[in-house]
């Protein structure tokens, strides 16, 4: 009896959902439903668009935004999506690109690499977007790369990464290794810290980054005392910390990604190790992550990026102010958010210069384009589609902000294959 009534209820739900689905199907024909398919914020972008097959038909042009809005990476990627939407909104307010309003199609990569590839394909071949802004982990970029190359799409990737890549269909607006990791190791060595303990999450970015660091240390008189990897999402660092205490390094170079950083720094402090005892340099902790870890655990530790919320440029003051207005006074801005924001502006500038939304023309026009970004002037390098960026080493303060200790003095030319460094020969094979 109990079972019977349950079954009836289930049948009712199924029937109801079928009816609803039927109604939805009718409604879909009139509106651009893919734009609203994944998440609410897509409504922030642009106007009511008529459904169209081509990216630039009518008064709007579609662009894709593809980040993890759910799953383990959403902690970081949601904020980049926000800054990209803000850039789109700003450009639309100024009249759009080539007189067309930009309409964002927001998709969720769900922290799952095959999903990134699948959604990228959907954006390019079904929504016919002019370009896509998206990705965070290298795994997601590697998953999307063949899709964009096959369909001749265009991807703007906004996060620092391990280098050794230069796809003709991707623009890299985050730092490559010689704009973040290599100078930060030089910085450490100049401070007289020779013994380096490498700690990273177990996937492509930390392993490749550490390969480069080891070669650099060997060439410049440093020493790699240990190299440890933990699975993504690892939450117990007591043993790693015991190993660090045993190895007595001068500095821990931290390429952990995501939530593991929280566990590592909390447990490091509990074990009685402070930034005064042990220098750490992190490359995946920005203002947003500091907020989630708790600044009291991180004060005094070092990070390497190209941009901080405190970076002193007129463009940054406006950027921070607008971002707080848009997403609340508690919100912070960080390097990948700035890179995502910059990417949208660079794309718009390239389109204006090309006078077209066609991928090949935009790529050609993008060469040498300059933009006064919040981090300072950036220029697209025509040879490898990376951008010139200023390198900055910062120290985390107890209020959660990061203060610059050192910078490279000016934008550094991107060199993803490290061809200008003698010690890096043979790394790219």
């Amino acid at each position: 009896m109990k079972k019977g009534s349950w079954f009836k209820g289930f049948a009712l739900v199924v029937t109801a959902s079928l009816v609803l689905a039927g109604c939805g199907g009718n409604g879909n024909n009139s509106g651009g439903s893919p734009a609203e398919s994944s998440s609410a914020p897509s409504s922030e972008a642009a106007s009511s668009a008529p459904a169209s097959s081509a990216a630039a038909a009518g008064d709007t042009v579609k662009v894709g935004i593809l980040h993890s809005l759910s799953g383990t990476m959403s902690i970081s990627e949601v904020t980049v999506k926000n800054s990209e939407l803000m850039a789109i909104k700003e450009i639309n307010a100024k009249g759009g690109v080539l007189g067309k309003q930009i309409e964002a199609v927001v998709e969720d990569g769900a922290s799952d690499w095959p999903t990134f590839a699948e959604k990228a394909r959907k954006l390019v071949s079904e929504d016919k977007v002019a370009t896509v802004f998206g990705g965070w982990t290298s795994a997601s970029r590697k998953a999307m790369l063949p899709v964009f190359e096959e369909l001749n799409g265009l991807l703007w990737y906004p996060v620092q990464y391990e280098g050794l890549e230069s796809s003709p269909n991707i623009f890299y607006t985050g730092a490559t290794t010689n704009q973040q990791i290599v100078p930060s190791i030089d910085f450490v060595l100049e401070k007289g810290k020779k013994k380096v303990f490498l700690l990273g999450s177990d996937y492509v970015f930390p392993r490749t980054a550490n390969k480069i660091i080891k070669a650099q240390l060997a060439a410049k008189g440093g020493e790699t005392v240990a190299e440890e990897y933990t699975p993504l999402g690892h939450t117990d660092y007591t043993t790693i910390i015991a190993k660090i205490k045993e190895a007595k390094p001068d500095v821990v170079y931290n390429t952990l990604n995501g939530d593991s950083n929280v566990a590592f720094f909390k447990q490091l402090k509990d074990a009685g190790v402070t930034s005064a005892d042990l220098m750490t340099v992190s490359v995946s902790i920005a203002e947003e992550e500091v907020k989630g870890i708790g600044p009291e655990y991180l004060a005094g530790h070092l990070v390497a990026w190209n941009y901080y919320q405190t970076t002193d440029t007129p463009e940054n003051k406006v950027f921070v102010e607008n971002f707080k207005k848009e997403y609340g006074a508690d919100s912070v801005t960080s390097d990948p958010m700035e890179a995502g924001y910059t990417a949208v502006y660079l794309w718009a500038a390239a389109v204006e210069k090309a006078g077209s939304f066609e991928v090949d023309k935009v790529k050609e026009a993008a060469k040498g384009i300059e933009f006064n970004a919040p981090e300072g002037k950036v220029t697209i390098d025509g040879d490898n589609q990376h951008i010139y960026k200023t390198v900055r080493i910062g120290e985390i303060k107890p209020d959660g902000q990061i203060v610059e200790l050192w910078n490279s003095g000016g934008p550094v030319k991107p060199d993803p294959y490290l061809t200008t460094y003698d010690w890096a020969k043979g790394l790219s094979e």
Partner: protein, 303 residues
């Protein structure tokens, strides 16, 4: 020498954390046989319970009271997870008792929904929970050997939870009714026990203990919508290894996995250490498929 003491303590500490994670599941899965994939999300609920308590204390009470928030947070986390667990049992789980595979899918779906709910309420980024100042620092045993107070506190909390659970399950009337229902549902019903109420209550208690675990984990780990996924595999592994349905098995399973994980990680690295632990578990379950402490009862033969 120091390193051995440190590692021994670390092993014990990891075991205590694993046990805390698994205790709730030992009830919902171990006793009730619900393949509860939403267990991790109850841990997450507990963690956010601690966060909310902290925010309330920050805004409503003077700063000098702030350190008192943590004991309150433990109770609040338990209550919150208990309430949501109760709701879930009444609205969904009770329809699925004789369909274990459906319960797996349904609770997994519920887990995803809870994650997304947390993401909508609190935002996708992690939130920070400040630990009370009386838990900072640690006990220095000798130079180079520090036992952090937080870890000692978690060990004590686990012991307390274990004792409370033991008293409840084996020494109270409610616990006796619970065991009766789990061992022989029809007989218990014949004797006038409201099995439905016992089911709901038992599931809620399991969820509540997961909430306590989540609250304690804010001391040492991240607090975000997806933290449940980090702990769920370990929790199932412990309950299965220890022997489904036996509390003492869960304790032994947690101790075994914690100590071996720490040792293997020390000798090799984190990834390989975990692989070796899994290999050992697989080998052990080949030898003893029912786990370390098998329940001998005829009621199990039915399923």
């Amino acid at each position: 020498m120091e390193i051995w003491i440190t590692q021994l303590f670390n092993g014990l500490s990891v075991s205590s954390i694993l046990l805390l994670i698994a205790l709730g599941l030992a009830i919902t899965f171990g006793l009730m046989r619900v393949i509860n994939m939403a267990h991790g999300e109850f841990i997450m609920i507990g963690a956010y319970g601690a966060y909310m308590t902290q925010q309330i204390f920050k805004s409503a009470f003077p700063a000098s009271f702030f350190d008192a928030y943590f004991p309150v947070a433990i109770l609040a986390s338990f209550a919150l997870a208990f309430a949501i667990g109760y709701l879930l049992e009444v609205s969904l789980i009770r329809f699925l008792y004789d369909r274990p595979l459906d319960s797996l899918l349904a609770t997994w779906g519920v887990g995803l929904m809870l994650q997304q709910l947390a993401r909508s309420i609190f935002g996708a980024p992690n939130v920070a929970v400040a630990s009370p100042s009386w838990l900072n620092d640690g006990l220095t045993l000798m130079p180079g050997v520090v036992f952090p107070y937080k870890r000692l506190f978690i060990i004590a909390l686990v012991a307390l939870c274990l004792i409370a659970m033991y008293l409840y399950i084996y020494r109270s009337n409610a616990g006796r009714r619970m065991r009766a229902v789990m061992q022989n549902r029809d007989m218990a019903a014949c004797l006038g026990i409201s099995t439905r109420r016992v089911d709901a209550f038992t599931f809620a208690i399991g969820s509540g203990i997961a909430g306590v675990a989540g609250c304690a984990l804010t001391l040492i780990g991240p607090i975000g919508p997806s933290i449940g996924t980090y702990y769920i595999v370990d929790a199932f592994m412990i309950v299965v290894l220890g022997g489904v349905g036996k509390l003492v098995g869960t304790v032994a399973g947690a101790l075994g996995i914690g100590v071996f994980n720490t040792l293997f990680e020390w000798w090799t690295d984190a990834s390989l250490g975990k692989v070796l632990v899994f290999l050992c578990i697989v080998a052990f379950l080949q030898w003893k498929p029912m786990g370390m402490f098998a329940v001998r009862t005829r009621s199990l033969d039915q399923s």
